[in-house]
Amino acid sequence: MILAEHVSYSYGGGGQSVSDLSFRIGKGEFAAILGENGAGKTTTVKLIDGLLKPTEGRMTVNGLDTAKTKVSERARQVGFLFQNPDRQICRNTVRDEIAFGLRAVWGKKEKDRIDERVGELLDLFTFTGDEEPFSLSRGQRQQVALASTLAVKPAVLILDEPTTGLDYRECTRIMEFIRTLNEKEGTTVVMVCHDMEVVLDYARRALVMAGGRLLADGPVREIFRDEVLMERASLLPPQIIRIGGRLGGTFAEADDAETLASLVADEAERRRGA
């Protein structure tokens, strides 16, 4: 579905470049791109979306070369949720905001179809439609931006630090929407995220980047358990993974607090019995 073949990109002004990226993300995958600031994560997702064109190599989404595909065509395939929803929101009501992207992609003539889709999304996100987006809370604005992004039913959803600035409840609500979308509708999700707990909870695959290069690519838990890799990428694995790693043995397999607590209780019971 997403295929990067030796993709390189360099900014003229000296921004962080990426070089020789090669990976394949299949349909329905939930992948997280990890790395410290300046590792090239945002550049990579912009290359996937076609906002940046590779200076070398080829990036294809659903077989379409992002360097050659028209903006409107690409927007049908790929949705992009930005870190800052205020850059995305530009209409006076939530209803208009959701319809804005649909009008750009489907065309204004499809009024009935647009109204129907807007109605579906308003119900899903529990908005009345008449709210003023800029008067909403940060979390609600992020939901409006997500609703607008999902309006065209993109096959690929890119999330660039979607939980930044959100409290726990807002973060969970947004991420649960995305999980449902990924699991029930088979939407491919590529997420850039600095919150390793969120990555552990939601992503199944991780691509680790440093200095514009891809260091590793694999299942999230395996990646987090590789201490040398984490050190190289200047990343700190989630606490539960670190505690499990310190305890060793079967405890290292635990990836949530409940499992670890239950394993510890079992071990304590076993020792008491012995």
Partner: protein, 249 residues
């Protein structure tokens, strides 16, 4: 484009010059450009601008400003040529005076725009504010307003580019060749830009207040802005430029 107003560190005479002298030099170049209609004087002023750029080690930036103004200059030249009806007709509706006026307008535009950019290239915005307050006794809130406006230009440009990127990702075709269609697409972007600007202004005001904004006077700055030989030389150049523009017919 966003680095157009960014300070480039250096140790050239222009870097060492008092910020107030640099402003006076800029104003003198602009005044000389408006005081003369002589094309040769305007050409000299343009060369003088480039010399300043080369001396400051910002020749590339001077040329990039020149390139950036090229389209506007061509448009202005055509407009002036078509609308000035005085003088002898050369061909079609173009007159000799129309051509001369158009050339003068374009040269004046280039002469005026270059030093304004160059001053910001060789002076920190904070130094401009400091010198205005300390040397010219401009009240700090006014100096702050001026420098904040300058400082926000690249930030607004970056914000606009981010907003356009976000809208492009939603399928808005900014790459269309139709200028009217493009204008129609740009208008909705005014809302997010305005909102983000107001939010940024609010945040800046709060940050300034918690750092004692209203306590600052002309004596508060830790850096002293003195005048040296290079400033005297600049003052003489300023006088020569103005005199040349007035006296050369």
């Amino acid at each position: 484009m966003t680095d157009l107003f960014q300070y480039v560190p250096g140790n050239s005479p222009l870097h060492r010059m008092n910020p107030v002298t640099k402003i006076v030099l800029t104003v003198s170049v602009c005044a000389a450009a408006f005081l003369t209609d002589n094309l040769l004087v305007l050409l000299f002023l343009l060369v003088f601008d480039f010399m300043i750029g080369i001396t400051a080690g910002a020749a590339r930036k001077a040329f990039s400003v020149f390139r950036g103004l090229f389209r506007v200059s061509v448009f202005l030249f055509i407009l002036q040529t078509l609308f000035v009806r005085r003088g002898n007709r050369l061909f079609w509706i173009v007159t000799d005076e129309g051509l001369l006026t158009a050339a003068a307008v374009v040269l004046r535009l280039l002469v005026v725009c270059l030093p304004l950019t160059l001053v910001l290239t060789v002076t920190r915005v904070s130094d401009i504010a400091g010198a205005l307050v300390q040397v010219l006794r401009v009240p700090y809130p006014y100096a702050f307003t001026l420098t904040t406006a300058i400082r926000f230009i690249p930030q607004f440009m970056e914000e606009m580019s981010g907003i356009m990127e976000a809208q492009t990702a939603r399928g808005v075709e900014f790459d269309t060749r139709n200028p009217i269609k493009k204008l129609g697409m740009l208008l909705p972007l005014c809302a997010p830009l305005l909102i983000s600007s107001v939010r940024r202004t609010g945040a800046t005001a709060t940050a300034a207040e918690v750092r004692g904004f209203y306590l600052r006077t002309w004596e508060s700055g830790c850096r002293k802005y003195g005048f040296g030989p290079v400033d005297l030389a600049a003052a003489l150049i300023c006088a020569a430029l103005i005199a040349g523009a007035v006296l050369i017919p």
